[in-house]
Symmetry: C2
Subunit: 126 residues, 2 copies
C-alpha cells in the first residue's frame, strides 16, 4: 500500500524522505513485526512471566510445582502453559502422571535474563 506508493504526507520535508526510505529496507517487515509482537505479548503476562522465570531458575518443573510457585489456580497455569507450548517457548515431558516443563529455546533464556537485568538497572537509576 503506502509502503510502496506513499511519500505524500509530510510533503514539506525532503531531507528526511531519504532516511525513511533507507530505513524501510533494513526495517523488519510488517509480518516480522507482528511475529515479534506475538512473541513479546506471550511474555507480557504476569502469570506466564512468573512461570518462565521459575523455569529459568529451576530448569524443569511439573505443573503442580509451578502452581505452587505462582499464585494462581492449576487451571490457569495449564492454560498459560498451553500458549507457551504452542508457541515453542516451553517443551514438556511426561513422567508417570505428571508432566515436566522446561524452556525450549536458548534465545528466550537470554531474553528473560537480559530483561531481568534491564529491570534491576532501571530500579538503580530510580
Amino acid at each position: 500500500m503506502d509502503v510502496v506508493t506513499g511519500l505524500d504526507a509530510c510533503s514539506t520535508m525532503e531531507p528526511d524522505e531519504a532516511r525513511v526510505a533507507a530505513t524501510r529496507e533494513r526495517l523488519v517487515t510488517a509480518g516480522e513485526a507482528t511475529r515479534l509482537a506475538d512473541l513479546f505479548r506471550l511474555l507480557g503476562d504476569p502469570t506466564r512471566a512468573q512461570l518462565l522465570y521459575a523455569l529459568l531458575e529451576a530448569g524443569e518443573l511439573c505443573v503442580c510445582d509451578l502452581t505452587e510457585t505462582v499464585e494462581v489456580s492449576d487451571t490457569a497455569v495449564s492454560h498459560a502453559l498451553r500458549l507457551l507450548r504452542t508457541a515453542g517457548i516451553v517443551a514438556s515431558r511426561r513422567a508417570g502422571r505428571m508432566i515436566y516443563y522446561r524452556l525450549a529455546d536458548a534465545h528466550v533464556r537470554m531474553l528473560l535474563d537480559l530483561s531481568r537485568e534491564h529491570l534491576r538497572h532501571e530500579i538503580v537509576k530510580g
Copy 2:
C-alpha cells in the same frame, strides 16, 4: 500467602519440595514479574513493535516519519508513543513543530536485536 505458608498441595511428593523452595529464593518476586510483564506487554503490539524497530534502525525519527513507516493513523502512532514514552522506553526531543523520538535505553536496544535474531533463527529451523 502461600509463598510462605504453602507446601500443602502436591503432598505426595517430597523430593521436589526442596527444589521448589530453593527456586523461590532466586526467583523474581511477583512484583518483579509484573513489571517484567509490563515491559514485554509494551513490546507486544504490532504497531509499537514496528515503531521501535524503525527507531532501532533510524536512530531518530519524527512522528510524521513514523506514521509513514508504520501503516496506521498519526493518532494511533501518538497514542502508542505516549505509552512507550511514559514507560521510559523512548525519549522525545522537540525541534520546531515536530518532535523526534529515539530509543531511550540500551537494554531495550539489545532486547529488540536479540528478539529479531531469535525470530530469524526460528524461521531457519522451520
